[in-house]
């Protein structure tokens, strides 16, 4: 498997995962609107949390769609992978900070494990990025 194929698989996998997760978040928001609807999970959500869950879901659907486009045309959409790597690093940073400062101690090591996984994916996006195409 060459680097370009691996990059396309990476973009496709992360893109589909993000899109499905986004749809799940959006569905969770609508489920929370039902009478007595309380979303399961380690973090208790109030109405504010459900609102931001829906916002995050919409953003993930758009982000995932961009990554799926990058999987189809990796050379012309290579900046999507770079931006994704940057965003993954930022997400890992806030998870490490959240874990370190203790406000989310009830989550245990979930934040650390998530941060480690995101850093691994960011590293893959950095090193598998295809070279730029010549314009004109």
């Amino acid at each position: 498997m060459n680097a370009l194929t691996a990059y396309r698989i990476l973009c496709g996998f992360v893109g589909v995962t993000f899109a499905l997760s986004g749809l799940g978040c959006l569905g969770g928001f609508f489920a929370s609107l039902a009478p007595g609807g309380e979303l399961p999970g380690p973090i208790p959500l109030g109405v504010g949390g459900a609102y931001f869950l829906a916002f995050t879901g919409c953003a993930l659907v758009g982000w995932g769609g961009s990554l799926i486009g990058a999987a189809r045309q990796p050379r012309t959409h290579r900046t999507v992978g770079t931006a994704t790597a940057f965003a993954l690093v930022l997400m890992a940073m806030y998870r490490i900070a959240a874990w370190f400062f203790g406000d989310y101690a009830f989550l245990g090591n979930i934040l650390r494990v998530e941060a480690g996984g995101m850093l691994l994916f960011a590293l893959a996006f950095v090193w598998l990025r295809p070279p730029a195409v010549q314009e004109g």
Partner: protein, 82 residues
């Protein structure tokens, strides 16, 4: 060059993720709250509860001694203020 810079940043974050001690600055975490506000050990079953002082949700001090002579039910549960 930028690729190596990004790799260095990611490696640094990896080191932080794996190497940082557990919530050393956690002044608001539940475990830190127990450590700082309720530093009581060695309480035996059946013995009178030792006095302790906590803060109410409004920030006012609340002492267990204020309830002496009255029935008092104390429960412990996780509370997350979002």
């Amino acid at each position: 060059m930028l690729r190596w810079l990004a790799t260095a940043v990611i490696a640094l974050l990896f080191a932080l993720d794996l190497g940082l001690p557990y919530t050393p600055l956690g002044r608001r975490g539940p475990e830190a709250l127990v450590r700082s506000d309720v530093a009581i050990t060695g309480v035996s079953v059946g013995a009178p509860a030792p006095d302790l002082e906590l803060r109410t949700l409004e920030g006012q001090p609340l002492s267990l001694a204020e309830f002496r002579g009255h029935p008092l039910l104390v429960t412990f549960e996780r509370s997350v203020d979002w």
